[in-house]
């Protein structure tokens, strides 16, 4: 009898502790192949939750973040997703292209608002993926804006695409980038595949140079982008390179050193050094408080924070119960929602779940990332 009483009290206490908690799942890659950008991203997500919890949580309810390091493996992502559902999360923040695509059918069926760090355009179409949302310009939009930049700035108006032969690598260019280049009259003169782990890109760059590409768009991550820039410098190739967002950050400058000078990059997110941006000032203060030893944050941290900031803000703004339908309805009412300048204002509609369509083009000058445009869109 005594034992039963203790058990009942324990169950009561546990349920009391969990009552009033809003559970949010997060799939992150800390130790897998994209861990170099995944870890700072996850830190941004975590800090955002901490900030919200210290400021009233979700309308007085504490946020419980269920974070799983799925190591960029789709089966682990599916297992974690099922566990999230069992634990009754109200929304999930995800990570890669492959796993977001694999989960999309479940997400639609289970009506779980799902934010992704994959900027693949096709998962932002609400007809096929009504519960998927994205904060950040899609890969296709990044390519379109870079092509528009070439159209405006280029003399020969010729371009080459450099990509890794994966869904992530092809996403910005085929068919979106190809079609847009044709539409605006930028001539696509070459396409080159460079593996994500390539140590040498000599043959690809020699071919690109022979094709006469004035600009080349690069869809890789830091390491391959650094190989490309260093080999281009070694070979004396005068093509100008514009990297999409995962190629552009301080790590690239550390890796490529002088070869990174003059390199352009697309980013929907502000960088740590832009202390004139309200959100960056806010993050500097937040980091002083949470992590006094940290003096620099990669852009990936800012990406993670911004995306989670939008998701948690939506939870706060949702009227009534936190159901998938209600949260979706709130998100679809977002119009020019401010992320304190960490991104361009965020807008979701019933027709489009691309939260951000604008980005700035930056250039590396004296090892600093300097914006060379204001926020621009492809439209």
């Amino acid at each position: 009898m005594k034992k039963l009483l203790v058990l009942l009290i324990s169950v009561f206490l546990v349920s009391m502790a969990y009552a009033g908690k809003v559970k949010v799942g997060a799939l992150v890659d800390l130790t897998g192949p994209t861990g170099d950008v995944g870890k700072p991203y996850a830190e941004g997500v975590r800090d955002c939750v901490r900030y919200f919890n210290e400021n009233g949580g979700i309308n007085g309810n504490e946020i419980e973040l269920l974070m799983v390091d799925y190591q960029y493996k789709i089966p682990q992502a599916i297992a974690a997703y099922k566990d999230f559902l069992r634990k009754k999360v109200v929304a999930i923040h995800g990570w890669g292209t492959g796993d977001t695509e694999a989960l999309s059918k479940f997400i639609t069926k289970d009506k779980i608002p799902y934010f992704s760090a994959s900027y693949s355009e096709h998962i932002t179409n609400p007809i096929n993926n009504p519960y998927n949302f994205l904060v950040g310009a899609t890969y296709s939009d990044q390519a379109r804006i870079a092509l528009k930049f070439i159209k405006d700035k280029g003399e020969k108006k010729t371009v080459a695409f450099i990509y890794n032969d994966t869904g992530f690598g092809r996403s910005p260019f085929f068919p979106d980038g190809e079609e847009y280049a044709q539409k605006i009259g930028v001539q696509l003169v070459d396409k080159q595949v460079v593996d994500l782990k390539a140590l040498d890109a000599t043959s690809q760059l020699l071919n690109l140079s022979k094709a006469g590409a004035e600009y080349a768009l690069v869809q890789e991550t830091y390491m391959a982008a650094s190989t490309i820039l260093k080999d281009a410098k070694k070979l004396g190739i005068d093509t100008k390179f514009i990297g999409l967002n995962w190629t552009f950050g301080k790590t690239l400058i550390d890796l490529a050193k002088d070869a990174a000078e003059g390199y352009y990059g697309t980013s929907s997110f502000a960088f740590w050094g832009q202390s004139d941006v309200e959100g960056i000032k806010f993050l500097h203060e937040l980091n002083k408080k949470y992590h006094p030893d940290v003096t620099y944050r990669e852009v990936n941290y800012i990406q993670g924070f911004s995306s989670m900031y939008v998701l948690l803000s939506a939870l706060k703004m949702t009227q009534g119960e936190l159901t998938g339908e209600n949260i979706k309805k709130t998100l679809e009412s977002f119009k020019n929602f401010s992320t304190m300048g960490l991104t361009a204002p965020v807008t979701f509609t019933k027709e489009s779940h691309k939260g951000v369509k604008a980005l700035k083009i930056y250039q590396i000058k004296n090892s600093n990332m300097i914006p060379v445009t204001d926020y621009i869109t492809a439209d």
């Binding site: 861990g35 700072p40 595949v193 593996d195 140590l199 000599t202 043959s203 020699l206 390491m223 070694k234």
Partner: protein, 294 residues
């Protein structure tokens, strides 16, 4: 012609790095009959230690390089002594499983100590390339070829002239006969692991200087598999020749076939070539043909 020569030079450079990492596989297989699936992690450990000494202790790169080599020698030695020694006589599949297990452990320990962020060596080699007859080569690549050549020359002398080297060849050739001649086979096994750890770490340090280091560097250990298979699993000469062939073929395929098919030949062609060679020579270019008499 300049295009062709540039491709060949780039191929030789990459091939020399493949060769030295492949050498680690071959040395262990030749002496002990074990395919070491933790080869990539030996590369990882060596690269991180050299980086740590250079960045955290601010040691001169050459000093860090030498200390790393010494450390890796003992590291390899103790891996054999602590883990592999107990497996002598056990089924080969158990030993392979053990090396796979070791690879996970080493990778996890590296992640625990150094994290997963990409780290870079400080500027060690001049950034401007050396241009000879219109062909550009980075200084880090020149250092790669020189260090690989030195190691290969040292091994050739070691195996041909030194007593221990000859003993290692004897063990590789016939363990029973070597034992009956009084050769300490266990010591030879440990030495094979020690040397394999050293050459792998050299590969890791070179790659780290070219492209930075994170834990994905260990994948390079498996990337050289076609090199080892092509050369012949138990042939040191095969590892070197196989490395150079794959390096050159990759670049020629990238230069001449990629434009025709729209890319990707550079990654795939070495494997196609390897399959063709294996169909003609099932033990690789220089592998020992096993003769079984019934």
């Amino acid at each position: 012609m300049e295009f062709f020569l540039q491709l060949i030079v780039a191929g030789i450079v990459m091939g020399s790095i493949y060769a030295i990492v492949a050498l680690g596989f071959t040395l262990i297989y030749k002496s002990t009959g074990v395919v070491n699936f933790a080869q990539g992690e030996l590369l990882l450990v060596g690269a991180y230690i050299c980086l740590h000494l250079t960045v955290e202790y601010r040691l001169n790169f050459v000093a860090s390089f030498i200390i790393t080599i010494l450390f890796m020698f003992f590291f390899g030695f103790f891996i054999e002594k602590i883990f592999l020694r107990k497996m002598i006589g056990e089924p080969i599949i158990s030993i392979i499983m053990l090396t796979i297990g070791l690879s996970s452990v080493f990778k996890s320990v590296v992640q625990l100590i150094w994290g997963t962020n990409t780290k870079t060596f400080p500027q060690i080699f001049p950034e401007e390339p050396l241009i000879v007859g219109g062909i550009s080569v980075s200084y880090v690549y020149i250092f790669s070829i020189i260090s690989v050549s030195i190691f290969l020359a040292l091994f050739t002398v070691f195996f041909k002239k030194s007593k221990v080297g000859i003993a290692m060849r004897a063990v590789a050739s016939d363990q029973q006969a070597a034992l009956s001649m009084g050769i300490d086979v266990k010591r030879i096994f440990a030495l094979s692991w020690a040397i394999a750890a050293v050459v792998s770490s050299v590969g890791g340090i070179l790659i780290g200087n070219i492209n930075g280091i994170n834990t994905s560097l260990s994948q390079f250990g498996l990337k050289v598999f076609p090199v080892v298979i092509l050369g012949g699993l138990d042939s040191i000469l095969g590892a070197i020749v196989g490395g150079l062939i794959i390096g050159i073929l990759e670049n020629l395929a990238g230069g001449y076939i990629d434009p025709l098919i729209g890319g990707g030949a550079k990654e795939v062609f070495p494997f196609i070539f390897m399959i063709i060679i294996l169909m003609i020579k099932p033990y690789g270019l220089f592998g020992t043909v096993e003769v079984e008499k019934v």
